[in-house]
Chain length 343, copies 2
DNA sequence: GTGAAAGCGCTAACAA
DNA sequence: TTGTTAGCGCTTTCAC
């Protein structure tokens, strides 16, 4: 008794169409050198049989694959979800499959995930998590990535990394400066900053911009309360609690991302503190809900979806001699959560 | 001149370690039947050389792959982002890579994506988009999926589908009923419903539950204004505009998801309509920001992350004789956006 | 324009 | 316990 074949092979299609496997291959992959009529017939037969090529076999034989990888800190976070959306969009357009993985803001996990992607022989990888300030921390990742690139792999990152690869970089410094200038311009002088870990370059840069604005306004940044907490809504809540307890004179809070700002708004509201009448709050990123909050959130808009798109497009381009750096536009978006300080 | 090998092969590791390629394979894949000392040595050599196995070759030879697929409508949508987070979490735990793709709520695109996943020989696919009410619409997908399963592929869906596979199903009917009963219980009688396309089973079910509650309250559901718009924030805004224009007597709006509810809140606010004093608003899903809105949103909580986890776990289990159906707990969460109607 | 055949890098019988 | 070898399904020279 013959063992029944389960999956269709290219050979089955070839036999059915009465051509050689080579011709079948050429017909289906759209290669040149097959007479149009034959190619069409093969395609028709394949379609009717419901044949789907085995991409593993194809990748193995051709040495290239139609897939790319994306590393994010956490896909449930709107910031990364929107970036992923952009990456998926370009991927679909180019007929690429996209593997997404979490790094959980952990450099070691990030490295593991990169290794896995390399093992999967993806054609390109996009790293969307923020880099770490400490270059040593990324030495291993950098080495792996270099080896990967020597073998023809493409890499692009979003944000500032020490990886020596193409990058889409939002100007976090200028953005931080813009939002701080806005709040200072409203007349605030007693300002607190709510931030995540300064080990992340994204955060470090935003803080740098804020510091610049303070310096320009003649304010000693060392005296400004910087509340460091998780870079999440819960972190924002914790920061707000601390501000209400230990910095009662504060009239404005600069959150280093929207998530924290949302948590801050929530906590202030539950404490009966009116925004922006008593305290102004600003965010950073302009996630989709920022405009629908009440009050709507003053923030710095980063085009996350476009950044995802650009990053993959950059990675897909012919590699350049030296790393390319593409700036992402940022834009101060003034909404209802900021106003002059109470008289 | 010999062409320089770029990527390391298993053979290179085997030679370096002084063993056969078979032994090297067994050592690295953790298979039994190798002396511990040899296995350890091989692993050490591989690590030092920086060898990463070619997963395509492995999949092709072994006929199985350590990857799974996830199909969502749109990863930028928090609902799906949270589900994806759950899937990625389990995937990481099990050492699986996850391919994510967009269907864009388009049955044809969904089919294409499924085909692509099948071509990639993923071990399992999780479909997270809502199914369509019209069974004919999914006939093709169903056929493809059946063939995939006959070849050993696993499938699980989130939500009600006509696909004949394992499913994680939120009880949308009861959830719809619960939120409608809550609003009716507050005394509202002039209620509008804001919804997305009823072609989606998720939405159809929620509406069914709502209708049940209305019937139980002795209200003719046919007289209730049902505003159909995009199942997004923008759709919610459009629905709110219409309600303000054409249904001025409405004291409560039931939105069939949080996204729409957020858009509704936003539009009502910009029109100076107070929530919940003048109009109550409810949502569905309990996306993370729902609790941080102002007013915080009354909604039906669905454990999205857990649903994603369960779906992949279900797909990874040994297949059962008949499709399994796992209920996801839902819970009415009463917050600030609902109150009795104005006197 | 088409076909035969040699791999792509790995796993899994089967032998030793 | 270890090694030899035949594929996995496809692409791609190289002949014809």
């Amino acid at each position: 008794m013959e063992k029944a074949r389960t999956t269709l092979r290219l050979q089955d299609v070839a036999e059915q169409a009465g051509v050689s496997i080579a011709t079948a291959s050429r017909s289906l992959s759209g290669a040149t050198g097959v007479s149009p009529s034959v190619a069409e017939r093969v395609r028709e037969v394949a379609r009717q049989m419901g044949y789907v090529a085995n991409l593993h076999a194809r990748s193995l034989a051709a040495g290239t694959s139609r897939s790319v990888g994306l590393v994010v800190h956490e896909i449930g976070d709107p910031y990364f979800a929107e970036i992923a959306s952009g990456v998926l969009r370009v991927g679909a357009r180019e007929g690429l499959t996209v593997q997404i993985c979490h790094s959980g803001r952990d450099p070691e996990r990030e490295l593991d995930q990169i290794r896995m992607l390399v093992a999967n022989r993806v054609g390109a990888v996009v790293i969307a998590g923020s880099g770490f300030v400490d270059p040593a921390m990324q030495a291993a990742a950098r080495a792996d990535l270099q080896a990967y690139r020597r073998n023809g792999g493409r890499v692009a990152v979003i944000g500032r990394h020490h990886l020596g690869v193409d990058a889409v970089v939002p100007d976090n410094i200028k953005g931080g400066r813009a939002v701080a200038e806005h709040v200072l311009g409203l007349g605030h002088r007693s300002i607190a900053v709510a931030t995540g870990s300064r080990e992340l370059t994204t955060i470090a840069d935003r803080l740098t911009g804020v510091a610049e604005a303070f310096a320009a306004a003649g304010i000693d940044f060392d005296r400004v309360p910087i509340i460091e907490a998780a870079f999440t809504r819960d972190g924002g809540k914790a920061a707000a609690e601390e501000i209400l307890t230990r910095h009662r004179d504060v009239t404005a809070v600069l959150a280093m991302n929207d998530d924290m700002a949302i948590g801050i708004l929530s906590t202030l509201r539950s404490h009966g503190v009116s925004v922006p009448d008593q305290i102004s709050v600003s965010g950073f990123d302009d996630v989709a809900v920022a405009q629908d909050l009440s009050p709507s959130l003053t923030t710095v808009r980063l085009p996350m979806v476009e950044m995802g798109e650009s990053a993959l497009e950059l990675a897909l381009k012919e590699p350049a001699a030296r790393p390319r750096r593409q700036r992402a536009a940022h834009q101060l978006v003034v909404r209802g959560s900021t106003a002059p300080p109470p008289a």
